[in-house]
């Protein structure tokens, strides 16, 4: 608002309520609008977050008195192999939850954009998005059955002659985490595909036309036009999927419970176990804080990189 307008608004307000200065009233009213949302957010998100930080500085079992231990819990998180392993597992999941859905999503979206703009494209979009709307625990249970020794996956492998490879994928140390990763791909591929597709529809058609007239094949078109123009959407895709990977809980809880051994122990599960089973609230909170910080550390650069400067 320019000075003149502000002054005019103030005068108008002043005419209605002579004793109040217009600008101040509008500010108060505006903040009153924000207040309810802010209160809920502060009370149930920010306050607990601050409390988590506080708890992390103590050793507490949740019932008795708490003992101050300073940063000892953080030292444990970074030293104890079991806890450190959860962080590594989280990053391993990023490979499955993030890189593959983004990559495969790019390919799929560009395929839809290029060859299936009609019915098939619409059906693809809807179907691929389905796993996004069901509860994650349902996805975990469904795939728990599929990946079992007598499940569909092994049945399929036997059908194509690879019956020897069959095993209980979620019970095998080497394959448990990748198996959980597969579930993540199934859940997240649709999201990335649809998101990237929407982004593609925003790219100027003329670019594609001229490329085709020049005889560009799919992969050339993909590299030269599609990907560079989708920086923003790719960034969002990566951000959402990375958070899903680092904060994974529902799927792992239902599919493996963190086992076998600690093969699929991710930070989310470990925090739950530490806080509510082992009753080490301080250590759980320290791990939670480390998780939050890690998420921020990964997301911030991605955000900066994917910011479109020319918009």
């Amino acid at each position: 608002m320019t000075q003149a307008r502000a002054a005019a608004a103030g005068r108008r307000e002043a005419r209605r309520i002579p004793w109040l200065q217009g600008i101040r009233r509008q500010t108060v009213v505006g903040w009153l609008f924000v207040l309810p949302a802010l209160l809920f957010y502060a009370a149930f998100v920010l306050q607990p977050l601050a409390l988590t930080v506080q708890y992390s500085l103590y050793r507490w079992d949740g019932f008795g008195p708490a003992t101050w231990v300073g940063l000892a819990n953080y030292a444990s998180v970074l030293r104890e192999p079991k806890l450190l392993e959860t962080l590594f597992n989280a990053f391993r999941l990023v490979l499955f939850f993030s890189l593959i859905p983004v990559g495969l999503g790019l390919v799929t979206a560009s395929v839809i954009h290029r060859v299936a703009t009609g019915r098939l494209g619409a059906i693809s979009r809807t179907v691929l998005f389905l796993p996004q709307v069901i509860p994650l625990v349902a996805a975990g249970i469904i795939w728990g059955r599929l990946l079992s020794l007598s499940g569909l996956i092994n049945q399929g492998l036997a059908a194509i002659g690879l019956g020897d490879v069959a095993r209980a994928w979620l019970g095998d140390f080497d394959t448990a985490l990748p198996a959980v990763g597969i579930i993540g791909i199934w859940v997240l591929l649709g999201f990335c595909t649809v998101l990237l597709l929407t982004g593609m529809t925003k790219i100027d058609e003329a670019l594609f036309e001229s490329a085709r007239i020049d005889g560009a094949g799919w992969s050339q078109e993909f590299r030269a036009i599609t990907v560079p123009n989708l920086r923003h959407e790719i960034g969002v895709c990566i951000t959402v999927t990375v958070i899903a990977a680092l904060a994974a809980f529902d799927i792992v809880y239902v599919a493996t419970g963190g086992g076998p051994g600690n093969a699929t122990a991710v930070p989310g599960i470990q925090i739950y176990i530490l806080a509510f089973l082992e009753r080490q609230v301080g250590l759980a909170s320290a791990l939670a804080v480390v998780l939050v910080v890690l998420v921020l550390l990964v997301i911030l650069p991605i955000q900066r990189l994917s910011r479109e400067d020319v918009r």
Binding site: V137, I141, I142, I243
Partner: protein, 274 residues
């Protein structure tokens, strides 16, 4: 658009494969759900005698009418309140442009990156202290708070793009901020509000971690939260477990199929706008 025939076929084949891989898991538990109770079916095969009654059994055995009621209650408690307060906040930040709007927005957006695990432990003790532990209120209140980041951001994105002429005209007519909000902008924002409402309903329905930690009694949880308990109770009975799983994922699936445009648009525009 000239596209090579081979490309067309390859592309369509890829899509066909992906669609199949996406649907197959759903089909698998559907067929498994139709097997006689207590058996352990292998993979994908239609049973000799489909037991449609399994769905009824699963409904009764898991006490699903109570679960449905509980979930509906949670959704009805969370979504309208969230819609109202987030629209108000988005209005103030995006349209009224109150001083400090930038900092406020940042504060909310920070919450978008927050994993629930980062706050679930203190929420438990907080709920215990206030005395609401084990009640649905314990899920409702934090969920409203947790929805604020996306909801405020989403509504603000809408309001920011509203042409200022509308507000100007209203001001000239002497409208107060509340009039501006309620009489003019809310009706204009019906579409994003509806999309947001649908999205939050789906999220509330699917909420698991909060329900698991804050409420012990499965009949007071969300449907998804109860599914975790259901898995424990009926792990023996695979067909029944599958029937129950289908019943539980059906509502959000139906909502999506009915409102797919709004759901997808809401999710995607939230990421592209701003």
């Amino acid at each position: 658009m000239r596209v090579a025939r081979s490309e067309l076929l390859a592309g369509r084949a890829l899509l066909a494969v992906l669609i199949t891989i996406t649907i197959l898991p759903f089909l698998s538990i559907f067929t498994t759900a139709l097997y006689p109770s207590g058996s352990v079916p292998v993979g994908l095969s239609w049973p000799a005698q489909p037991q449609w009654g399994n769905f009824v059994d699963a409904f009764k055995v898991a006490n699903m009418s109570a679960l449905l009621a509980s979930s509906v209650f949670i959704v009805l408690a969370v979504v309208p309140i969230s819609l109202v307060i987030s629209t108000m906040a988005g209005f103030a930040i995006g349209l009224l442009r109150i001083p400090g709007a930038r900092l406020l927005l940042l504060l909310f957006v920070f919450g978008l990156t927050l994993p629930f695990e980062g706050i679930v432990t203190p929420l438990y003790f907080l709920a215990r202290q206030i005395g609401i532990l084990n009640t649905r209120v314990a899920i409702v209140l934090p969920l409203i708070g947790l929805f604020m980041p996306f909801a405020v951001f989403w509504m603000r994105a809408h309001f920011v793009n509203m042409p200022s002429e509308i507000s100007e005209a209203a001001r000239v007519d002497g409208a107060s901020a509340w009039d501006l909000f309620w009489r003019i902008h809310v009706p204009l924002a019906r579409a994003p509000i509806a999309s947001l409402g649908i999205l939050m309903s789906v999220w509330a329905w699917n909420q698991f971690l909060l329900a698991l930690v804050l409420v012990e009694d499965p009949t007071q949880r969300t449907m998804a939260g109860a599914l975790g308990a259901f898995q424990g109770h009926y792990a023996t009975d695979i067909p029944l477990l599958c029937a129950g799983t289908i019943l539980i994922l059906l509502p959000t699936l139906l909502i999506f199929v009915l409102f797919q445009r709004q759901v997808i648009a809401a999710l995607l525009q939230g990421s592209v706008k701003g």
